[in-house]
């Protein structure tokens, strides 16, 4: 058996794949956070709850209406996006122009309510959600055995991240968005409906989180608490990457996921904290974050 640094190659590759999957979720979630923060100047603490909502939406769609995985990939983010639009219109909107910390506190409250309700209704134990039959099983790549669903998650998240990046950097809508980030008043005076843009952005960010939730449902169990611990790690990812650049958020997400996977191989006790340690190191060396533009 091939050994690298005293670790069997298949074990190493297995953990690398797990790290890559975690990195996929970090990337998708920090991407959504960065898009929302860029325009709304709000740190969306409810992002983890929206991720959880996405997973639960998929679970309930299957349970109650028999709508399967593939349709849920589309419907669940849509539902969560609509919920987010309502939140933005009725609550978040009133806080624009105030200190951004109020947005953090409001979304923290929303996250507590959402998680509390689902905990009350469904308990803390996870609900199993089966992967679709097309993606069950594993394929032998010669050097390692790849579970098909895991490969699909990595591929799908890459596509989603690149599509979002293209949407923001290359389309007309994305141009408006970036322009409004720089100077909202000026863009509005050109006749762009900026309030609508803000609503859509929040909805889009939440839908991205929900999509990540659907993708995660067959890997992790669907549980009310699945989002809250994840979101804190994603915050650390965002601090490391800096929220100035979309690409920065994506690259940092995948990289830190891989680092976490590697730590699990070589020093498992530290795997929970490695991302926070990296965050502390980055703060010492480059306080603005790797891709940040100033504090």
């Amino acid at each position: 058996m091939t050994m690298i640094f005293g670790v069997a190659l298949p074990a190493l590759l297995g953990q690398l794949l797990l790290g890559l999957i975690n990195g996929s979720f970090y990337a998708m979630l920090s991407l959504g956070l960065a898009v929302i923060f860029g325009l709304l100047r709000v740190i969306n603490f409810a992002h983890g709850a929206q991720y959880m909502l996405g997973a639960f939406a998929a679970f309930l769609l299957l349970e109650r209406t028999g709508i399967g995985y593939w349709a849920a990939l589309l419907v669940a983010p849509l539902i969560v996006g609509v919920v987010a639009v309502v939140i933005e219109r009725t609550m978040l909107r009133r806080l624009y122009g105030l200190d951004p910390l109020y947005g953090l506190l409001l979304t923290f409250g929303i996250a507590l309510v959402l998680e509390g309700l689902f905990r009350e209704w469904y308990g803390t134990s996870g609900k199993p959600y089966a992967a679709p039959p097309e993606l069950v099983g594993a394929t032998n790549l010669g050097f390692m055995v790849l579970p098909i669903y895991r490969g699909w998650v990595v591929a799908a998240s890459l596509v989603v991240c690149i599509a979002t990046w293209l949407l923001i950097e290359k389309t007309r809508l994305g141009t408006y968005l970036r322009a409004a980030t720089e100077n909202a008043a000026l863009v509005e005076s050109f006749g762009v409906n900026v309030p609508m843009l803000l609503t859509l952005t929040y909805g889009l960010g939440a839908a991205l989180a929900a999509l990540a939730g659907v993708l995660a449902a067959p890997i992790q169990q669907v549980s009310p608490l699945m989002g809250s611990n994840l979101i804190i790690v994603v915050f650390a990812v965002v601090v490391v990457g800096g929220m100035g650049s979309i690409m920065g958020a994506i690259v940092t997400g995948y990289t830190l996921g891989i680092f976490e996977g590697l730590t699990k191989v070589f020093y498992p006790e530290a795997s929970n904290i490695v991302i926070f340690v990296i965050m502390a190191l980055v703060l010492l060396v480059r306080p603005a974050g790797l891709f940040g533009r100033g504090a």
Partner: protein
């Protein structure tokens, strides 16, 4: 963060300050007789959380830094005190000192890293570092993981007074609470405190006046952490228990809620907020309503409708009437 506190509260008429003084005296008198009417452990719980919220408010209310990781100092000190009293057999006052010193040390590390960024990033960094501390507590052997440190002896204060007597324990907690609040009052109303407020109002200007802003921020952070540790260590003695609950991020959220509900940047606000939240939790857990849903709902209502908090709104109304 300058927008969080109401600058009008600073220019309150002198009559209001006198009113505040008398109300504090009345509250103190009530606290002295309260244990003869109300269950002392419940009162001690309120006092511990009130001191915790006051310590947190020192940072958010007077420097404008919203820490989302104060549970680390509160719960960390609880572990340090519990361990030194139970395993090393030290007296409670030495145990508390160790808790405070440990919390201050943690505060030095966390603060040193967190003040490198501002605003929203500061909050996220404190949250992330306290989560890291949570994982350390989860795995470190001396915290006993999920079980926590149980059966912590209250011991004899200065080797003389047995704290197993509920009233002796209560008055010890009351003295600690009053001393802690007085310390915060003294810090806030000192030249040092004025510089902190200057940083909150206009940081670039404070820098241009020649103040080393980072040192002042770090100083305030360490003091806040140490006082939060005093509250946490005291709580460990009262409940004879130190667990993971106290270092979890939910605890950081709770202390924010107490301060926000009572009034950020007011002396009495955190005390009022802590009393309300603790009472509510006790009542709700008896009735069986999910506590987190209600806490979240109060957060939403506070942020949307009365950002000054209860005491802040009262001060605002009174000072407008006085004009």
């Amino acid at each position: 963060m300058a927008g969080v506190t109401d600058t009008a509260a600073e220019s309150r008429p002198p009559g209001l300050a006198r009113l505040g003084f008398w109300m504090a005296l009345v509250a103190l008198a009530l606290l002295v007789v309260a244990p003869f009417a109300i269950y002392p452990v419940f009162l001690m719980k309120i006092l511990c959380f009130a001191l915790f919220a006051c310590a947190f408010n020192l940072l958010v209310g007077y420097v404008g830094l919203l820490s989302f990781g104060h549970a680390a100092f509160f719960g960390g000190a609880a572990y340090f005190t519990a361990h030194s009293v139970k395993v090393w057999g030290l007296t409670p006052e030495i145990g508390l000192l160790i808790g405070v010193a440990g919390a201050a040390g943690l505060g030095l590390v966390v603060g040193f890293l967190a003040i490198r960024r501002q605003g929203i990033y500061f909050s996220m960094i404190t949250l992330a570092l306290s989560q890291m501390f949570f994982f350390v507590c989860l795995q470190a052997p001396f915290t006993h993981g999920e079980d926590g440190i149980q059966g912590v002896p209250r011991g004899r204060l200065f080797g003389i007074v047995s704290l197993d007597d509920p009233l002796a324990m209560y008055f010890t907690v009351l003295v600690i609470f009053v001393a802690g609040v007085l310390a915060i009052w003294r810090i806030v109303n000192s030249p040092f405190g004025n510089i902190l407020k200057a940083i909150r109002e206009n940081e670039p200007r404070a820098i241009s006046l020649g103040y080393r802003v980072d040192r002042y921020k770090l100083g305030a952070f360490v003091m806040s952490a140490a006082l939060a540790g005093l509250a946490g260590g005291t709580k460990a003695l009262v409940f004879q228990l130190a667990t993971l609950t106290d270092v979890q991020w939910q605890m950081s959220g709770e202390v924010i809620l107490m301060t926000l509900l009572g009034g950020i940047g007011t002396m009495a606000g955190p005390v009022v907020g802590a009393a309300l939240v603790v009472t509510l939790q006790n009542y709700l857990s008896a009735v069986g309503i999910p506590v987190n849903v209600l806490i979240g709902a109060i957060f939403i209502v506070c942020v949307l409708l009365f950002r000054r908090g209860i005491v802040g709104e009262a001060v605002h109304l009174l000072s407008r009437r006085a004009r």
